[in-house]
Each structure stands twice: as C-alpha cells, then as structure tokens.
Symmetry: C2
Subunit: 293 residues, 2 copies
C-alpha cells in the first residue's frame, strides 16, 4: 500500500458508489475502474439501472435505508463514498425507512425544506459521523469533468463571451435560492432559467418559443450556460452535458454551450465534442471567475 | 377646465393609448372611458385587436412609425401616453421605419440590447422630449390593479406566506437581469422561474412535471408569485392575472396566487376572484416590501 499525502492507502481504498438514475453513472463507474480502484455499487432501487449495477460488485438499497448502507459499506471496507446519478425528488411513498434513518429524520426533514443541496449535505454529514468520507466526482474521476477552453471546432464570439459572463453572474445570483444550474442568454436577453424542469426541458422550451416567434434572436445567437450553484456542495449533483444537450441546444437555435470547467460532468467527451461539431455549435469550458458580478 | 395639482386640465386631457396584443387592453380602455376621459387608440398593426381598436377613436401605426405617432398625437391634442398590451419582441421584418424612428435608431438599438425594459424607457424618453408624458396604468386606471389583501374566499397559510416572501425576494434579486416577473415556490423549493416563456407556460410546465412525478410537493402546496421586476419602469409591462392564470395555477396543483398590490393588473376582478373560489385556491395582493431580502 502506497500512502498518499493524507496518509491513506489511495488506490487500494474501496470506493462506495451510491447510484441513482440517468445516463452518467455508467461513465463515472468505468472511469473509476480505469483508475484501478475497487468499487462497490449501491444501487438505489427504482432509480439505478440494474444492468449497470450488476456489472460491478453491488448491493441494492432503498431510499431510507441509511442504516443498511452503513452496515454494508463497513462490511465492504469502504471509506470513501461517491454519490452519482439523479434522484429526482422522490415521492414519499417510495421511502423504506430503517431505524437509523428514522433517528436521522428530524435532521433530514429540516434539510429537506432547505432544498436538494442542503438535503444531500445533511446525509453526507451523517455519513461522516460514521467514519465515511463523501467525495465528489472531481476527486474520484477528474477526467470526467469538462476541461477549460474551447473543446470543439467552433469558437464563441465576443458577443457569446458577454452572454456567457452574464449567465454565470445570473447563476451565481440565484445560488441562495438553491436553483438554477443553467440559463440561456441570447444577445444579453435572458431567455430561460432552469429550475425543477431540467436542462433538456429548458432547451425544448426555447425551441418552441422560437417556433412561435416569441424568441426572435437570429438562429446561431445565444448560449446555454451550465454551472454549479454558488455555495453548492460540489460533491453532489454537478451539472452535466451529453450529446442530448448538444442536440437540444442546436434545436433551440443557440450558438453554443459553455460549462463550468472542472465542475461539470461530460460523460463521453469525444462523442459530445463530435456532436457539437456536427451541430456547428461551440462547446467551451469556462472558469467560473469570468462572470461579470 | 379644472386644473389639477400639476396645473393641467385633468379629466379633459385626451389620453393616447398605444395598444399591443393580449386580453387586457379592452378592460383598461373601458376603465379609462368609465372615468370620463377622452382617449385615442393607437393600435399597433399586427398586435392590437381590430375589434377593440375600432370601438374607440383610433389610428393604426406600425412598429417603427414613431414620427407618425408624434404627428397624430399632437393633432389629437394628446399629452399623456399610455402603453398597454403585449409586444412580444417583434421580428425585425415587422418593422416599418419612418424618418423619426431612423434618427432614434442608435438610441433604440443601444436600449434593445439592454432588455425590454430599457427599450421601452428609451422610447418613453424620446416621447417626453416631444412634450408627451408617458404614464402607467396605475395612474390612468388604478382600479384595474390588484388591491392589497385576500381577494377571494381562501387564505394563504403561514407556509404559503413564507413561500410568497421567498418568491418576492427571488424576483427582486433577478431585477438587474430584466427577467422574472413570476416564480413558483412550493414549501421553500423553487419549482420555476419565468423568463421568455410567460406565466401560462410556466404553470403548464409545473403541471407536467407533477404528472411526471418530478414535482412531488402535495397538491395544494405552493404559490405563483407575480411582481414587477425591481427597478422596472412601472409604466410598462406590468404583470397581469386573469381567469386563465387561475385555471393554470390550479392545474399546476398550487395552493394559490400572490400578486404585487398596486402594480399588477387584474382585468376583470370579480370574474377572476370567482374563478379562484371555484378552483379553491387563494388570491392575495401583497406589498412588495414583505419579501425577506
């Protein structure tokens, strides 16, 4: 065992991945495996894709089985825990509360009122009290995050850069409301702000408003900007882009996409970049400090 | 002529109404007439409803015919000008530029980049240089705006009051971005922020997310809040509610609607209140100072 700067046995540590739904978990799990790290998948029943979970050493847990997770994670000698995939706010009927969870409920309910972000932070806090360490994707598989700079063949214009900067400021401004990982701005006009609907719905809406002539900026003008909310716990729910994001941005008539470098997930970079080139839109990783606030 | 406190002949002044589309202009024009004031309608071709325009002394103008408007307004002895109705950002092909407008273009284009609000303020500035005074609906027909207090049979709970307060803060925070006259918050979670799509689209989206179980707050929890953007020139584009807003809020499973008292339009209050009672949702006019910023 080669201890890293924290005195921990680095590569040999087993990583517990608590896995929700969506298309990114597979890419992240593969990246962790490529780095030579042992992982144990904890699929959340009802959200995680069984095909992905069963490809690895795994256990199934229900939402509300925090105690069961603790027992299994200790038995599997996991110390680091990574949350991946989406957990669209579950209806209360999907919960299976074990005793540990019930004891944590007052804390969880307080956090639930505070928004997704506070909810996850509360869960992470409880895990850390159990000797587990909750890490983020940028720690476990940094190659899965968007690098800084222009990624494809097309480049943002200076007008695009101004719109990007304004959108980063807008997203930062919305931070305290635990909302808005994405915004669409075209020629200085805010066309859309993402809340509960998700980025694809946001883009399809812009496409539709354009068909109705309610968005009249010329095609090829405007950017989708995705960045974590300011103050967001970067260990959870990072913004992500995939080929579908590219296709929907093109359908919305935008000029390109900017994402926060280092803290947005790009599951299959070469495929996504090829899609951007095909759609003739730019794709750029930007430093979050470039906003105009 | 009885001069008012500004030394003007008040009730006898002819009011020029520049009229766009939508369902509110008729109610506003009727309210002005009920007050005994002479009005001249200037219908914007392509936006204003001919049936409404032709009910009054009227002229048709195209977008971009500011010079033509000046000449007609002077000939009709109008001094006050009221903008009503929506002017969804027009495609450039709809413009008919007269010479006065062309001379004003550099100013207008600068403002155009700044957002709807700045655009209208620039046009108002140009009008004031011509001796016209641009007034708002709250000046011309205050009875058309929402009064403070609970309007229907149902009352907001203390949780609703907290959500209302948070939404007012959110809308105020978005002011500098010239966006967001409406937001939906349920149990402290921001479900939606309005940008280019308009309130009805916002509510239909929440209804759909609920069907997809992506919004899981119980039915009857959550508020739609409408308020002018902070710093908005209150002479233009006030938020408005009608029976359709009520029906869509009910469809979205919300508990009620709060609007900024005195600066949101309610075209036919008794009908709207009856619709709210039927839908079992509350409707309340709130002071904008009740936000929690």
């Amino acid at each position: 065992m080669r201890p890293d700067e924290f005195g921990r046995a680095a590569a040999e540590d087993t990583l517990a991945i608590i896995c929700g739904g969506g298309s990114f978990p597979a890419a992240i799990a593969e990246a962790v495996v490529r780095r030579g790290r042992r992982l144990v998948m904890f699929g959340i029943r009802g959200w995680a894709d069984p095909k992905l979970i069963e490809r690895h050493t795994h256990h199934w847990i229900a939402l509300g089985q925090i105690g069961r997770f603790f027992r299994l994670a200790h038995a599997e000698r996991c110390r680091d825990v990574l949350f991946i995939g989406s957990l669209l706010r579950p209806p209360i009927t999907q919960l299976r509360l074990d005793w540990t969870t019930i004891k944590l409920m007052p804390r969880i309910l307080r956090a639930f009122r505070g928004g997704d972000d506070q909810l996850l932070s509360a869960v992470a806090g409880a895990m850390e009290e159990q000797g587990l360490r909750v890490i983020g994707i940028a720690d476990a598989a940094p190659e899965i995050t968007v690098p800084e700079g222009v990624l494809g063949r097309y480049e943002p214009s200076s007008r695009d850069r101004a719109d990007i900067s304004r959108a980063l400021t807008l997203i930062a401004t919305l931070g305290p409301f635990d909302v808005g990982q994405a915004a669409v701005i075209a020629n200085n006009h805010v066309l859309g702000v993402e809340a509960a609907e998700g980025t694809d719905n946001l883009l399809l809406r812009i496409a539709e408003l354009r068909l109705q002539a309610r968005v009249t900026t010329p095609p090829g003008v405007g950017v989708l900007v995705k960045a974590p909310k300011r103050g967001q716990d970067r260990r959870f729910d990072l913004p992500a882009i995939g080929t579908q994001t590219i296709e929907n941005a093109a359908r919305a008539g935008l000029g390109g996409i900017a994402v926060a470098a280092g803290s947005a997930i790009i599951a299959d970079a070469s495929k996504v970049i090829a899609a951007a080139d095909r759609a003739k839109i730019f794709l750029v990783g930007v430093s979050e400090d470039t906003h105009d606030g």
